[in-house]
C-alpha cells in the first residue's frame, strides 16, 4: 500500500462515516463507499490541503458527464491515488 493511499483513506474515514477498514484499493468511492458529491467536496478539500495540490475535479466531472471517461478512471481508490500521485509529482517537477 502506498502512503498516499493510506493518507487518502484516512481522510475519507475522518470526513465521512465510512469505517477505515472498508476502504480498499479497489473500492469505488461512489458506488462502493457511497460518497456523494457534496461529501466528496470535503474530501477533495482535505486532500488538496494535505498534499498541496488542486485536484481538477471540474474537468474530471466534465469528462465523465461527457462520456469521455468512466467514473472508475477517477473514482476507484487505486486510480484516484494514482492521479493524486501524478499531481504531486507534477507539482515538484
Amino acid at each position: 500500500m502506498s502512503s498516499t493511499f493510506d493518507k487518502v483513506a484516512d481522510i475519507i474515514a475522518d470526513t465521512s462515516e465510512i469505517p477505515r477498514e472498508d476502504i480498499k484499493q479497489d473500492s469505488h468511492t461512489i458506488d462502493d463507499l457511497g460518497i456523494d458529491s457534496l461529501d466528496f467536496l470535503d474530501i477533495v478539500f482535505a486532500i488538496d490541503k494535505e498534499f498541496g495540490i488542486k485536484i481538477p475535479l471540474e474537468s474530471w466531472t466534465q469528462e465523465v458527464n461527457d462520456g469521455k471517461a468512466s467514473t472508475e478512471e477517477y473514482f476507484v481508490m487505486k486510480n484516484l491515488v494514482g492521479k493524486i500521485d501524478d499531481l504531486i509529482a507534477a507539482k515538484s517537477a
Binding site: 467536496l41 478539500f45 488542486k54 485536484i55 475535479l57
Partner: protein, 153 residues
C-alpha cells in the same frame, strides 16, 4: 438590506483579490414584513437570514475572483454560530475570506460584526459553475457593480 427580496448586502466596501477577502456593510431595516412573524412584538432578524447575508458576501467575493465568470451556489454550512440577537436598525459589518479555492468549489470563512461585537460566523461551502444563462450573468454583474464590486477587467 431588503429582507423580503433577499437583498442582504447594501455595499461592498473592499475586495482584496490577492488576499481573497471581502468586506461589506448592511443596515437592518427598521420595518419589514419578516418582523411581523419573527416575532410579533419582538422583532429579530432570523438566523437563516444572517447565514444568507454571510453567503451573499462570500458569493460576491467568489464572483469577483472569477471575474464574474462562475456563479457560486451555497451547498454547505458548517459550524454556524449565531451569537447574539440582531434587531431592526442594526448596522452590520460582513467579512469573508476564501479558505480554499478548489476546482469547481470554494470553502469560505465568513462572519458578521456590529460595533466590533461578533454576531455570527460560519464556514460555508460553495459549488461554482457556469451561469445558467447570459441574462443571469448580466444581472449578477450589474448587481455587483451597483454594490461597489471592482469593475470587470
Amino acid at each position: 438590506m431588503q429582507l423580503e427580496y433577499f437583498q442582504m448586502i447594501d455595499r461592498i466596501e473592499k475586495v482584496d483579490l490577492d488576499g481573497k477577502t471581502i468586506s461589506c456593510r448592511s443596515k437592518v431595516p427598521g420595518e419589514s414584513t419578516v418582523f411581523e412573524g419573527h416575532f410579533p412584538g419582538h422583532p429579530l432578524v432570523p438566523g437563516v437570514l444572517l447565514i444568507e447575508t454571510m453567503a451573499q458576501a462570500s458569493g460576491f467575493l467568489i464572483l469577483c475572483l472569477s471575474n464574474f465568470s462562475q456563479m457560486p451556489f451555497l451547498v454547505g454550512v458548517k459550524e454556524g454560530k449565531l451569537r447574539t440577537f440582531v434587531e431592526p436598525e442594526t448596522s452590520l459589518d460582513i467579512t469573508a475570506e476564501i479558505e480554499h479555492d478548489g476546482s469547481g468549489f470554494a470553502m469560505v470563512k465568513a462572519s458578521i460584526k456590529s460595533d466590533g461585537k461578533k454576531i455570527c460566523d460560519s464556514k460555508l461551502t460553495f459549488k461554482t459553475m457556469p451561469f445558467p444563462s447570459e441574462e443571469f450573468a448580466d444581472m449578477m454583474r450589474k448587481r455587483g457593480l451597483e454594490l461597489g464590486a471592482p469593475a470587470l477587467s
